[in-house]
Every structure is written in structure tokens, then in C-alpha cells.
């Protein structure tokens, strides 16, 4: 098999390189935007619960419903359903850049729930202590909730990144490219077992690296 790889390297090398690059490109940007929007949404979900910082049961019900809908729509359907929005944002509906939009939209509700769960882990007594010291809501979120939950927030983001890697395989459906796309078109549909195998191996390596990186960061930041 290695000899076959060596023989076909000129053909496969660029294919796999481009695929890996496209995967990392899509996952990287959508992770950034997911964190940017998912974190505040998660904080809002947490804070609007009864007995928390900003009790607003009505708002929470609405946000919760949106998040649940977002999470229950299959990604492949979501991708097609938001095409108009994608064109509005990126000016195109095909290619890796276009894929970032549905990937982000799909991951935001997922990450927001993970953020909410991590924030709930922060002890009520710590928040109450901050209140007793005269801290306002903004201070409590910025200086108590987020720093205390940081290891959990990082771990949640790692789970999200890994989910994004697997979602990104579907981005091939709109010409997004990436390793998943290469595996399906060049490996599965052309019965090219070597390409299929190499794509899977590369995906495993990418996921392993991302997960290890996330674990390391979470461990470094945890002082419990």
C-alpha cells in the first residue's frame, strides 16, 4: 500500500493537501464564529433562568425553543435551507467560504447549550459571595462566571470543534471541499480504497490533535 501511495503521490498529494486545508479552513472560521455568538447565547440561556442573574422566563423560553429547533434540524437540510442567508452573508452559495455559514449556524445552538451547562457548574455560593461584595451583573459574568467556567467552556468548544469536523464532511454537498468530500467523491464513488483510507486516517489525526489540544488547554486552566 505504501508503494502504491509513493507511486500515486503526485496525484494524491495535492488532493489530500487541499482537502485537509479546506477542512481546517471551514472548521477554523466556523469555530471562531461559533464561539463569538454561542458564548453570549449560552450566557443568556443561563442568566435568564429563574433564580439566576437576570430572571426572564419568557425570554428564556423563546431562546430555548430557537436553540432546540436549531439543534434538531439535520445539518444537510440546514445547509440547503439557509442558502439565501448564506448568499446574503458571503455573496456565494458554493465553496468552503459559503460552507462556513451553515456550519456556524448549526454549531451555535450546540455550543450555547454546552456553555449553559458549564456555567451551571459554577457554585451559587461563589456568585452570591460576589454579590455580597457589591459586584454588579456585568462584573459577575466577566470576573466570576466566565473565568470559573473557563475549563468547561474550553472542553465544550473542543467537543464542538470535533462535531464541526464531521459536519464539514457534508459541506461537499455545496462544493465546500474538505477531507470528507474527497473521501466520498474520490474514494467511495470511484472505488478508490486508498484515498478513502487516507482521508479517514487524516480525519482521525485532525480530530486527535484538536481533542488533545483542547484537553491540554482545559487542564492547564483548571485550578480546582
Amino acid at each position: 500500500m505504501l508503494t502504491e501511495l509513493a507511486e500515486r503521490w503526485d496525484e494524491l498529494g495535492p488532493l489530500l493537501f487541499d482537502g485537509t486545508y479546506a477542512t481546517l479552513y471551514m472548521v477554523g472560521w466556523s469555530t471562531l464564529f461559533t464561539a463569538l455568538f454561542g458564548l453570549p447565547l449560552g450566557v443568556l440561556l443561563y442568566a435568564t433562568e429563574r433564580g439566576r442573574l437576570l430572571p426572564a422566563p419568557w425570554l428564556r423560553a423563546v431562546l430555548g425553543a430557537i436553540v432546540n429547533i436549531g439543534r434538531s434540524v439535520p445539518f444537510i437540510v440546514l445547509m440547503v435551507a439557509v442558502l439565501t442567508f448564506t448568499r446574503f452573508i458571503t455573496g456565494t452559495t458554493i465553496g468552503p467560504t459559503a460552507a462556513i455559514v451553515p456550519l456556524t449556524l448549526g454549531a451555535i445552538p450546540f455550543y450555547a447549550r454546552l456553555v449553559e451547562t458549564s456555567l451551571r457548574e459554577v457554585g451559587r455560593d461563589v456568585i452570591e459571595a460576589a454579590e455580597a461584595m457589591g459586584a454588579g451583573r456585568g462584573t459577575i459574568v466577566a470576573k466570576v462566571l466566565l473565568p470559573e467556567a473557563l475549563p468547561g467552556l474550553i472542553a465544550g468548544l473542543t467537543v464542538t470543534v470535533v462535531a464541526l469536523v464531521s459536519y464539514s464532511a457534508m459541506a461537499g454537498a455545496i462544493g465546500g471541499g474538505g477531507l470528507g468530500d474527497v473521501a466520498i467523491r474520490f474514494g467511495y464513488q470511484r472505488f478508490d480504497e486508498l484515498v478513502l483510507l487516507l482521508c479517514v486516517v487524516l480525519l482521525v489525526v485532525v480530530v486527535q490533535l484538536l481533542q488533545s489540544l483542547g484537553d491540554l488547554a482545559a487542564r492547564r486552566l483548571s485550578h480546582r
Binding site: 457554585g123 455560593d125 461563589v126 452570591e128 459571595a129 460576589a130 454579590e131 455580597a132 461584595m133 457589591g134 459586584a135 454588579g136 462584573t139 470576573k143 466570576v144 473565568p147 470559573e148 473557563l150 486552566l221 485550578h223 480546582r224
Partner: protein
């Protein structure tokens, strides 16, 4: 002395207690028309510079009361004044500012695990907007005060329970409060550590003039540090006042709780309590002058608030018992005969604790 803590306030109107709670009630709405009355008309007056302890079982309402003082809980009715300020009238930024004058320490320490010891102590200063350089200086001073001068760079997870509570105390003092609220601050600690934390509170009380309001279910805490105390049950104070006065009362629940004597079911049994004087000469006088036999069944003597305090259970027999009891009362002893026991409502606090 600590330059940031206010000097024992000369400007405070002499008579007004630093913490003044009047007729406080708190009703929790559990929904579906069910309610729980956590506080049922509590009056609490804590003079400047005192250590005041509230003793009661869990569920007695102690914690709610404490949290009403800095308005973590908003009372249903009644008034809360701290240092002359009506806390219940405050909201938003004004309330947050007032809270900075009231330190609080917690049963489970409530330290930020993501911050170092120094970072935790700096937190209230950051909230107040103290400049960085001043903050660092202040943190170093506070850590010295609580005996953790060399642990500023450690994380709370690396400290023992007692050390964590010292950090909690340093943090509570950072903003220079006049009042310290202690929410079962020693309940998670072993007896020895409890003692050292209580001694620290006592020292801060004496040296800085810090007024302390603490709640506890442990008798030992009341005995060791409190000037005044209250016994709480079902959202009400059963008794409250300076410790020696409370203990000297013949029907003191606090005395029963602090110094339990075995139940003796014999005729003519009398419980005597005395403070700041010895009884033996009095008892022998009884025998001589009233011709009664005195049989000591049980007794205890301890030091409370720096003065000796004792309780005796004795059996008196003889013709002139009534006269003898009158004599004892005249000598300033608290006398309770078997005929007038405490209201048997199970209200005595628990006997556990150091």
C-alpha cells in the same frame, strides 16, 4: 493597626446599634398557594464592636436573617439598618455600594478557584475600582493580617480548609467593612481549626473594632467568641441579649444548650445557675441556717465571656426548703425548680459541635 479599616467610629450616634433589625419577616412563596415563613418578626440589635452569635438548628431561619442584613434576600416586611443606613430602601448601584461596607464569610469559603489567593483578596478591590498598585499593597497587608503572607501565589485548591477560610476573611476585610457577617464559617472545619479561626475573628474584633454577626449551630462557637447571643427557632428569637444575662436567667434555653445537665427525676430537684461568684459557701449556709440537706447531683463550671459561669442540679430536702430557695434568689442565683420546667416545645438547639 490597619489604616483602611475605619477607627472605632466616634461619629456613630452612641445609642444606635450598628446593625438594627426591626420586626423582620420573610415569607417564601413556594407556588400553588403554599408559603413558608422563614422569619417571623425578628428584632436584632448589634452594638458597635460586638460579636453577636445566633444559635439555631438548620431551618431555624438563621441563614435567611443573615442574608437579609446585606439584602442578598429582600425581607417581606420590617426594617434593616446597618450603620444608620436603611438597607431595604436601597436598590441597584446604591445597594451595591452599601454592601461593600459589609464583609461576609461563608461556610464553604466561596473562593474563586480560577484565581490565586492574592487574586481572591483583590477581587472586592477590583469591584471598587482601586488602582492596581494600591490593590497589591492592600492585598499583601491583608494576607499578613490573616497569617498567609507567603501564600499569595497559591490557588485555593492547594490550601487546607482553615487556610481557605483565612483567605475568605482577608477578602471580606479588603473593602474596609465595619461589619462582618459569618455564615457558619467554621462548620466545615475540624475543631482545632475552628478554634484558630474563631480566635482570629476575636482578634479582628478587638484590634479593628470590627462588629461581627455570626450564625452557627455549634454551641462552642457561642461560648468561645460571642459577647451577645440569640437562640433562634422557627423564624423567631426565643431569647436574645448579652451572654452573661442570658445565662443568668433561670429559664435560659441557652444555658440548657450550652451546659446541659442530666435529667434527674427525684423530688425536690432544683437547677441553680450563677455567674461571677462561687456557690459553695452559699450552699453550706443553706445547711446551717435553714436546716436543709443539699445533695449535689450534677454540675458544671466554665468560663464564658471571660467570667466564670456554673450550673448545679441539687436536691434540697427539709422543712424550710422554700425559705432556702428564697435565700438563694436573694443572693443573685438563678433558681429553677422541677415544678416550672421550660416550655416543652423541643425548641432547644442541638447539642452537637465543639
Amino acid at each position: 493597626m490597619d489604616p483602611y479599616l475605619p477607627p472605632v467610629a466616634r461619629h456613630v450616634r452612641e445609642r444606635e446599634p450598628l446593625i438594627d433589625v426591626q420586626n423582620l419577616t420573610k415569607v417564601y412563596d413556594l407556588g400553588r398557594g403554599r408559603t413558608v415563613q422563614a422569619l417571623d418578626g425578628v428584632d436584632l440589635h448589634v452594638p458597635q464592636g460586638q460579636v453577636f452569635g445566633i444559635l439555631g438548628r438548620s431551618g431555624a431561619g438563621k441563614s435567611t436573617l443573615l442574608r437579609c442584613v446585606n439584602l442578598l434576600e429582600r425581607p417581606t416586611s420590617g426594617s434593616v439598618r446597618v450603620d444608620g443606613q436603611d438597607m431595604t430602601a436601597l436598590r441597584g448601584a446604591a445597594l451595591r455600594r452599601a454592601r461593600r461596607g459589609i464583609g461576609m464569610i461563608h461556610q464553604h469559603f466561596a473562593l474563586l478557584s480560577s484565581r490565586t489567593v492574592a487574586g481572591n483578596v483583590a477581587f472586592p478591590l477590583e469591584v471598587m475600582g482601586t488602582p492596581r498598585a494600591q490593590r497589591a499593597r492592600r492585598v499583601a497587608e491583608l494576607l499578613d493580617v490573616v497569617g498567609l503572607g507567603d501564600r499569595g501565589g497559591s490557588y485555593p485548591a492547594q490550601l487546607s480548609g482553615g487556610q481557605k477560610q483565612r483567605v475568605g476573611i482577608a477578602r471580606a476585610l479588603a473593602a474596609g467593612p465595619k461589619v462582618l457577617l459569618s455564615d457558619e464559617a467554621t462548620s466545615a472545619l475540624d475543631p482545632e481549626t475552628t478554634g484558630s479561626i474563631l480566635d482570629l475573628l476575636r482578634r479582628l474584633n478587638r484590634e479593628l473594632g470590627l462588629t461581627v454577626l455570626l450564625i452557627t449551630h455549634e454551641m462552642g462557637v457561642i461560648k468561645r467568641v460571642c459577647d451577645s447571643a440569640a437562640v433562634m427557632h422557627d423564624g423567631r428569637f426565643l431569647e436574645s441579649g448579652p451572654l452573661p444575662e442570658l445565662l443568668a436567667a433561670p429559664d435560659s434555653r441557652l444555658a440548657d444548650a450550652l451546659f446541659p445537665l442530666p435529667t434527674v427525676d427525684l423530688p425536690g430537684v432544683v437547677t441553680l445557675s450563677y455567674a461571677e461568684r462561687a456557690t459553695e459557701p452559699v450552699l453550706s449556709a443553706l445547711t446551717r441556717e435553714f436546716d436543709v440537706d443539699v445533695n449535689i447531683l450534677a454540675g458544671t463550671v466554665e468560663t464564658v465571656a471571660g467570667a466564670p459561669y456554673g450550673r448545679l442540679k441539687v436536691q434540697l430536702t427539709g422543712e424550710r426548703t422554700a425559705e432556702a430557695l428564697e435565700y438563694l434568689r436573694a443572693r443573685g442565683l438563678a433558681v429553677r425548680t422541677a415544678g416550672d420546667p421550660l416550655a416543652a416545645d423541643g425548641a432547644e438547639p442541638t447539642g452537637e459541635g465543639a
